[in-house]
Amino acid sequence: MTAPFTALTSRTVVLPAGNIDTDQIIPARFLTTTTRAGLGAHLFADWRYDEAGRPRPDFVLNRPESAGCRILVAGRNFGCGSSREHAPWALLDQGFRAVVSTEIADIFRNNSLKNGLVPVIVDEMTSDWLLAHPGAELTLDLAAATLTLPTGVAVRFPIEPFAQHCLLNGIDELGYLLSRGREIEAYERAR
């Protein structure tokens, strides 16, 4: 279903706040939709637009240098809170393909992996460097599970091997689960 994840080189957008929850990524009032299309317009809506719906010029996503950036660097514990998959959908629709933080909440991480948004967990030192260098050009090598900084340092990041395999090869997890149908039937019979 999903296209294989290829190498990614991009400048970063930095949101230094810690504990950015999925209500910030996309507020609940935008969840009364029945499709996954077009959610990028509402990404970080309450930070990005003023009360009249005009873009706030000081918000990072509204600045010209953010255009075309595909890597989001955020403070610790990104994506906590609600399980809404609309959060990774909105980030992907905006063009992001990877999120970098020292810690990424469980459900958001799962949802991201299932949609081709790579959750990259880095150590404090790397994170501090990235937060201090917005716009840095990084290369994400998913096969090697490394993030290469402009300094030439390649930082390894942990990634669940099955999700990595699926992303690299464009394998769809539902297809895999369906292929285990016999075992599921056997389990149901044995109960």
Binding site: G18, P27, G75, L177
Partner: protein, 468 residues
């Protein structure tokens, strides 16, 4: 040789492994109960349609609507139009999806409708030892009966609809041991807020929590649900309490619980679920319940919490704290008590069960809310609503000046138009005080039903013990 001692979580997990995890592949985990609602299911049904797949086990799937549904009686029962057209569309789409797939739906006018995490236990569908999932992070609530219950995303909703299974890595375990007696005026909500204050909002990431100890054993089922509900606010996907006689007394006779001989067999099985004496947890946290006071959040995540008698902490060097203070319009070092309030919300999957409404009514009986306060009381289900009305609790709320609504998630997340205005302060019995959670620019302070009711009476943040 004696069998290897196991935790409650491990026992439930192992019983549901269709295939155990390997280095290369996650476990295939069987799901006993899949709860769906209007907001996180439509895109999953679309995927099934696109791929020509049927719902594998409609009999293990139950749908209801709660998140974007109206709470005004005229809109639920009187035929008045639902104001938000996209919400009305979600409701219609769930009706169509369920009809096509053969999934039972407790629809808008069903007497058994309610917040998904309230109706599961209420119907007796939530049972010890089950695996339960829902496209909602507060699915952790169901762990109160000793089920393994956790929230999933919409892609995974599709996986469960199509295969009744999920691909999962086994989480680690965290024991939260609570000993001692909660003081009068201190509730399960205060206890879980105190626990989250200790763990922090990411302290439980990657873990399933088991709440243990004499304090937890002494909690009734509604209280255990309040505690398990907020496990996700500490980053844990699930919270569990071992089943015991309190659990069985709660479930006995409920419409979807096993009956007769099947009940006896089920209880016998459930008695084997609690954690074995020598089982080990990956981590432990201990807490003295007798030291817990009524708690309230002052910031923009549930870990930013202090006793109602306390002061807003001073960590201004920390950018996260500074931002939260600025959003809330508070100053470091200020007492939280007596801060003015605009809105009080009693509701949500955390605190909208009958005992929560009784608790709020205990304080409101014979009193009136302060001038200028808007107070919404939204029962967690239509059954809770009827039971509350049978006890006259609705009269207590109405006479106190509060609004009494139909059930739903309502002002917890404001999807249905029940929102808090920009800049206003809401004392809310819900679970999240994130920026804008209850409406763009709204400022939320999470507290127990008692603290919320006391604050409504005074129009200011109030320690409920002053009015008990």
């Amino acid at each position: 040789m004696a069998p290897e001692p196991r935790t409650l979580f491990e026992k439930v997990w192992r019983r549901h492994e269709v295939a155990a995890e390997t280095a290369a592949t996650p476990a295939v985990l069987y799901i006993d109960l899949h709860l769906i609602h209007e907001v996180t299911s439509p895109q999953a049904f679309t995927v099934l349609r696109e791929r020509g797949l049927a719902v594998r086990r409609p009999d293990l799937t139950l749908a209801t609507m709660d998140h974007s549904t109206p709470t005004h009686t005229a809109q639920v029962f009187g035929g008045a139009p639902i104001t938000i057209e996209s919400a009305a569309r979600q409701i219609r789409e769930l009706e169509q999806n369920c009809a096509q797939a053969g999934v039972e739906l407790l629809g808008l006018r069903s007497e058994q409708r309610g917040i998904v995490h309230i109706i599961g236990p209420e119907l007796g569908l939530t049972q010890p030892g089950k695996t339960i999932v829902c496209g909602d992070s507060h699915t952790s609530t169901h762990g109160a009966v000793g089920a393994l219950a956790f929230g999933i995303g919409t892609t995974e909703v599709g996986h469960v609809l199509a295969t009744q299974c999920l691909l999962q890595r086994k989480p680690r375990t965290l024991a939260v041991e609570v000993e001692g007696k909660l003081r009068d005026g201190v509730s399960a909500k205060d206890l879980i807020l105190a626990i989250i204050g200790r763990l922090g909002v990411a302290g439980g990431t990657g873990h399933v929590i088991e709440y243990r100890g004499s304090t937890v054993r002494a909690l009734d089922m509604d209280e255990r649900m309040t505690v398990c509900n907020m496990s996700i606010e500490a980053g844990a996907r699930a919270g569990m309490v071992a089943p015991d006689d309190t659990t069985y007394a709660y479930l006995a006779g409920r419409p979807r619980a096993p009956q007769g001989a099947a009940w006896e067999r089920a209880v016998a099985e459930w008695r084997a679920l609690p954690t074995d004496p020598d089982a080990r947890f990956d981590r432990e946290l201990r807490l003295d319940a007798s030291q817990v006071e009524p708690m309230i959040t002052w910031g923009t995540n549930p870990g930013m919490v202090v006793p109602v008698s306390g002061a807003i902490p001073d960590h201004q060097a920390d950018a996260v704290y500074a931002r939260a203070l600025s959003y809330m319009g508070f100053e470091a070092g200020q007492p939280i008590r007596d801060r003015p309030v605009n809105v009080v919300f009693i509701g949500s999957c955390t605190n909208a069960r009958l005992s929560d409404l009784r608790s709020a009514a205990r304080l409101l009986r014979g009193r009136h809310i302060a001038r200028g306060i808007t107070m919404l009381v939204v029962p967690g289900s239509q059954q809770v609503k009827r039971q509350a009305e049978a006890e006259g609790l609705d009269r207590v709320f109405l006479e106190a000046g509060a609004e009494w609504r139909e059930s739903g998630c309502s002002m917890c997340l404001g999807m249905n138009g029940d929102t808090v205005a920009r800049g206003e302060y809401a004392v809310s019995t819900s679970n999240r005080n994130f920026e804008g959670r209850q409406g763009a620019g709204a400022r939320t302070l999470l507290a127990s039903p008692l603290t919320a009711a006391a604050s409504a009476v005074r129009g200011r943040i109030t320690d409920p013990r002053e009015l008990l």
